[in-house]
Amino acid sequence: MCASAKYNTRGPALIPRMKTKHRIYYITLFSIVLLGLIATGIFQFWPHSIESSNDWTIEKRSVHDVPVVKLPADSPIPERGDLSCRMHTCFDVYRCGFNPKNKIKVYIYSLKKYVDEYGTSVSNTISREYNELLTAISDSEFYTDDVNRACLFVPSIDVLNQNALRIKETAQALAQLSRWDRGTNHLLFNMLPGGPPDYNTALDVPRDRALLAGGGFSTWTYRQGYDVSIPVYSPLSAEVDLPERGPGPRRYFILSSQMSLHPEYRSELEALQAENGESVLILDKCTNLSDGVPAVRKRCHRNQVFDYPQVLQESTFCVVLRGARLGQAVLSDVLQAGCVPVIIADSYILPFSEVLDWKRASVVIPEEKMPEMYSILQGVPQRQIEEMQRQARWFWEAYFRSMKAIALATLQIINDRIYPYAAISYEDWNDPPAVKWSSVSNPLFLPLIPPQSQGFTAIVLTYDRVESLFRVITEVSKVPSLSKLLVVWNNQNKNPPEESLWPKIRVPLKVVRTAENKLSNRFFPYDEIETEAVLAIDDDIIMLTSDELQFGYEVWREFPDRLVGYPGRLHLWDHEMNKWKYESEWTNEVSMVLTGAAFYHKYFNYLYTYKMPGDIKNWVDAHMNCEDIAMNFLVANVTGKSVIKVTPRKKFKCPECTAIDGLSLDQTHMVERSECINKFASVFGTMPLKVVEHRADPVLYKDDFPEKLKSFPNIGSL
């Protein structure tokens, strides 16, 4: 009703116009219709030529609908795996070549169905997990479809579970891969190696030089630096969602959840339980479950039924015993539950042990020591247990949780070997995100006290106060350890004074002219700075005594990775305003020093100029303020250490600066500085500044001792 009404109202207005121009209108309309029809026609017939037929067939491809390859009975079999293989002997690194991204290129063979002479298939086509793994690789940045550019080849022949294979035929299938070449640069993934009765610890399929990513290696079959030890994936991870549980004491101390343990192990575990009572819980398969309940999701102790894997979250330690194989899927479940695994499997190579530090997430106990397990675990400090619980969960999340995680970690390990200079560090592999976030790695970590003889370079930032500048130069030149003086002339409109007018001083004096009047010029890493120590000093700071400056330098030598300055400042949390506040009053604490006169390492000039996070640098230049606060933030953030305030000095008061309505100026100043702190804290994402209650004075400061014998008698005033 409504629509027709609308149409009616619109109708009369439209028709009169059509009347006048109807011919042109019809022609246009018809031509459009005609064009449309032609276009449709083209689309109907063209696609077969422009869209690769591949695309459309792939879309509809099924794993059962792949090319069939027949393996003659006499087709070649690769040699058995070579135990002496190492990267430099069996791997062709030249295929990987120089690569600006430092990423290896991985090629995946397309899926085929292999049958023997009689047409019987060699194996199940592909398992869900192996498909997930290959999909993850093909979606990753390692993947290439160009077989000629590839450095690593992954067959699509699924060997995850040896039990599902016909060994000889699988080997033959491998050997006829197009780039097999004795298995060089080929990577096989296997999680369940061996079979009855021996249960070898590596895949039995002859594979010549191929790398093996295997779950369940022993130290005798694992080729260190060549093979990769991977976990046995637990499909339960995808089925069950176990939310992370906070670390802390749990109901049980030790839990064993594995089914079909060897009776010998079980009796040892039961002996432990008998000795230690309730805190040890030994579970087994349930015998009297009603139909329809999956046996794998339940565990029993006597008549008590527990949900698996949820019960794992109830224990501090969870036993992971070897079975017929060394690698156990239960390890993955245990880690997921944030339970600390107690690994009892002699000679087992733990998953990703090349990069993961398992001592931080697990306890490894020799089989012989099983009876002592309880006392050994009692000896683990409580704080460490909590850390291990977190670490276990983190390992699961990062490296166990999915086939994708396993695949990518494996490729990354191989990548790290080929491009070792771009390798991921120990910290990146092992530190959980929370630790990565709160920890610092100091770029100047070596405890060195630089030699005094090197001295320091003073950098004076000036605009046009020549008279004051010259006084500063004269004063600073009296400091014994000064080795060079650098004047940064920040005024583009005026030339610096003639050379003859400058004060004559005993050390080299250089003037650097800048292109723009920016505050950040003071923190530029000029090539002229040849010493480690830099003294940043304003062109009006003439009140510092020579002793004061020299002492500052000596203190800096003892703390070369910190800012060492004179007046200290503090940041405070303003509870009313709910933000940070800048404080320059007479406080008992210090968290910043002013860089109107401060010593620091030249390295921080690099950081300030090139590594300052966010837009802080531009912000400082635009506001012409807070460069010192920015420097304090930067140094504290990268070193995790506090500043050092030296000597009693609290203010830079110069005779020339008369107190022009100090109060109001002061207040706007404070507001601006507070704003800076809030801005920087949000850019850094944290408050890096450290508050301390101390300052550094000479050893004999104010001591009852003849002044003339003190090293720094004239240490200055407030």
Partner: protein, 743 residues
């Protein structure tokens, strides 16, 4: 007209609808064509039926793998013992752990025989073991055995080659086919193949060998050690050459190599290839063909020119001034160059395929030995590794022993962090704790901080048997500190300690520990000490609550150092050519007396467990030596000076003694022209022979400690930390620690 228009309109609409019906789908496909293009390239498609795929293993199969009945674990282990022997040895098959259970990790060295020649290097190794805290002269107690036969040089062309080793070792009753033995070797094999062969059967012994080839290396069993020269210092060792972190870490040369070029034979390929990179400017690669007797017979066209170039550069100069150093293999895989480069902070670039890097079980070489973008970090890392593990024979041998010890008690062994972060694995004892936060060193890396309370630890030695006024006052002052968790009194007097009721009432728990009258007891790691911080006190000490509070707050900023009140210093006595010791007031300090100092409780463990018993006996025998030893120990760990904090009035013992001291202490860093700092004493009160004897004992103590450590670990400081408003002329009401200002 109107109906016709309507009709046309309808036709139009209908045809457009038709068009969309046929072409719309296609059009949509066309817009997403670019996406599909990449999809089309994938060799690995998303299968239509991937959700129907079966899992690689049945859940039941995964959770209970295999047939559990055979073989029984015990049988399997027994079978392994017989299979995995000799070249396939692992700790669990070739090492008898039971020998280490009763007495712990004890190492025995076979007695040396006069008629057995021993090379200088091997004798240093044996000395190192005998100096170690694990040494035992009793083979019954031993867990690990070291031969007295020199096995370092097994090149039978060498003069130091020992013949008939096989026969000799078979004659040792303790040999037991090499079980629990550790064999050191630097050179194996000989011309032309330089194989890994030692010329005798090592059986099941652990091999600690230089230039280890990965293929013959038994992982988790053998240990790769660095090749070190025979003049490598026994103890202490030179420090690295990086005295400062220069920025940019640019040096004169980028990459250098200077060495022999083998004309034929094994290893010649690697070094032959190096001449291409030489550009005479920042990349220097120099080789000489002069090697062996008949080099001229093999010489090639390049030799003469190379030989001339070779003489133009000094090796030491190159090492000092290069960022990277090539460490190519020689005849064997390792070379002296490796340690030389580490010491020189020249980042080693390794060209030695298949070399099992030294101590790779513990050291993360990825951090130091390859090209990284952060050269400054790498240079510092070389210095850390050099100083922690390689600078002396002691360090090399002790690292070897610690690695083996870590294998015995897996659950009490060092994680990789302990090995690869300052101060290094030798100084981080897993016996103390395996939790990183319990140590003073790793707070920054972990983003944690030490605990907020401290334990006051007061040692009482007075002969009276009752409590004197000063000690009562001290207990009261300390217990009033807001940070004090508990007070421990170590009663080291021969008289029995006063009964419970005689002790003052305090708000914090007070515990009395009965001690022996040994001084070294004061640094025993008592289980009662639960906090990270220990405030070590003497009964004669007089401190106020403010002083304690302030010092503790300072300590929390420097948990790895000693933070305390009375200080003393060492100096280089140029005339007597030795380190001197003074308790006079000077402008510097390097020792903070442990009669009133905060430090981390870990140092109690280090003092008692890391130092050999001999040093503790020395401390017990000499007066006031324990302060020096504790300070030296902490300085050796941290390489940093202690921290002195503000003190209200001078401590009694700090009243300096007037003892003559030579002038001209040029060793004091500050003694420059502008601030002469001659030694000075305020008017002496307690001048007498007693204090003189005291000082000579301390001098004696210092001499012996420097000798044991092999160098002078103490570091001087010129500063004292005071409260921010200390003695400032502002209202006392503003000050947090007003009492400190009082004279």
């Amino acid at each position: 007209m109107q109906t016709r228009k309507k009709y046309i309109f309808l036709t139009l609409l209908a045809s457009w609808l038709l068009l969309f019906f046929f072409a719309g789908e296609r059009l949509l496909r066309f817009t997403s064509f670019s996406e599909r293009k990449t999809e089309a390239q994938r060799n690995w498609p998303h299968w239509t039926d991937q959700s129907l795929l079966k899992s690689f293993a049945d859940p039941e199969e995964l959770q209970s793998d295999g047939d559990p009945s055979v073989p029984s674990p015990r049988e399997r282990r027994a079978a392994q013992l017989s299979i995995y022997k000799n070249s396939r040895c692992r700790m669990e098959t070739c090492f008898d752990f039971s020998r280490c259970e009763k007495h712990g990790f004890r190492v025995f060295t076979y007695p040396r025989h006069r008629d057995q020649p021993i090379s200088e290097s091997y004798s240093k190794i044996l000395t190192s073991i005998e100096r170690s805290r694990y040494y035992t002269p009793n083979p019954e107690e031993a867990c690990l055995f070291i031969l007295s036969i020199d096995t370092l040089d097994r090149d039978h062309l060498s003069g130091q080659y020992i013949h008939d080793v096989d026969e000799k070792i078979q004659g040792f009753p303790l040999w037991n086919s090499g079980r629990n033995h550790l064999i050191f070797n630097l050179y194996s094999g000989t011309w032309p193949n330089y194989t890994e062969d030692l010329g005798f059967d090592i059986g099941q012994a652990i091999l600690a060998k230089a230039s280890f080839y990965t293929e013959s290396f038994r992982p988790g069993f053998d240990i790769s050690i660095p090749l070190f020269p025979k003049d490598h210092p026994q103890r202490g060792g030179e420090r690295g050459w990086l005295y400062q972190d220069s920025v940019p870490p640019k040096k004169k040369y980028l990459l250098v190599f200077k060495g022999k070029r083998y004309l034929t034979g094994i290893g010649s390929g690697t070094r032959n290839a190096l001449h291409h990179i030489h550009n005479g400017k920042d990349i220097i690669s120099l080789t000489t063909c002069k090697h062996g007797k008949d080099w001229e017979r093999h010489k090639d066209t390049r030799c003469d020119k190379d030989n001339v170039n070779y003489e133009k550069f000094d090796y030491q100069e190159l090492l000092h001034n290069s960022t990277f150093c090539i460490v190519p293999r020689g005849r064997r895989l390792g070379s002296f160059r490796f340690l030389e480069a580490l010491q020189a902070a020249c980042i080693p670039v390794l060209l030695s395929d298949g070399w099992e890097l030294p101590f790779a079980e513990a050291i993360d070489w990825g951090k130091a030995a390859v090209v990284g973008n952060e050269k400054l970090l790498l240079q510092q890392q070389t210095q850390f590794l050099w100083d922690a593990y390689f600078s002396s024979v002691d360090k090399i041998v002790h690292t070897t022993l610690e690695i083996i010890r870590d294998r015995l008690l897996q659950h009490r062994s060092r994680s990789r962090v302990l090995w690869n972060a300052l101060p290094g694995g030798l100084l981080a004892l897993p016996d103390f704790s395996t939790h990183l936060g319990d140590f003073p060193f790793y707070h920054l890396q972990r983003g944690s901080s030490p605990s907020k309370r401290f334990t006051a630890f007061i040692r009482v030695t007075s002969m009276e048997g009752s409590l004197s006024q000063p000690i009562l006052r001290l207990i009261q002052a300390v217990s009033r500190s807001q940070y004090c968790a508990q007070i421990l009194v170590l009663w080291s007097s021969e008289k029995p300690s006063p009964p419970r009721g005689k002790w003052p009432q305090t708000t914090v728990p007070l515990t009395v520990i009965q001690g022996r009258s040994k001084v070294s007891d004061r640094f025993f790691p008592y289980a009662a000490i639960q906090t990270d911080a220990v405030l070590s006190l003497d009964e004669h000490m007089s401190l106020s609550t403010s002083e304690v509070d302030f010092a503790f707050v300072v300590w929390r900023s420097f948990p790895e150092r000693i933070v305390g009140f009375p200080a003393q210093s060492h100096f280089w006595d140029a005339e007597q050519r030795r380190w001197g010791y003074t308790s006079k007031w000077t402008n510097e300090l390097s020792i903070v007396l442990t009669t009133a100092a905060f430090y981390h409780r870990y140092y109690h463990s280090l003092f008692t467990q890391y130092l050999p018993a001999g040093l503790r006996e020395l401390v017990d025998g000499l007066a006031a030596c324990e302060d020096i030893l504790m300070n030296i120990l902490v300085a050796a760990v941290t390489k940093l000076p202690p921290i002195k904090v503000a003190q209200r009035k001078q401590h009694k013992e700090a009243v300096p003694q007037q003892v003559g001291r030579e002038d001209g202490d040029a060793g004091m860093p500050l003694a420059g022209e502008w601030s002469p700092s001659p030694p000075w004493s305020p008017p002496a009160k307690g001048k007498g022979t007693a204090s003189g004897r005291h000082l000579s004992q301390q001098q004696d103590c210092l001499d012996q400690l420097v000798d044991w450590f092999g160098y002078m670990p103490l570091v001087s400081s010129q500063l004292r930390l005071d409260p921010v408003l200390f003695k400032d002329q502002v209202s006392i009401l503003r000050k947090k620690y007003p009492l400190l200002d009082k004279p």
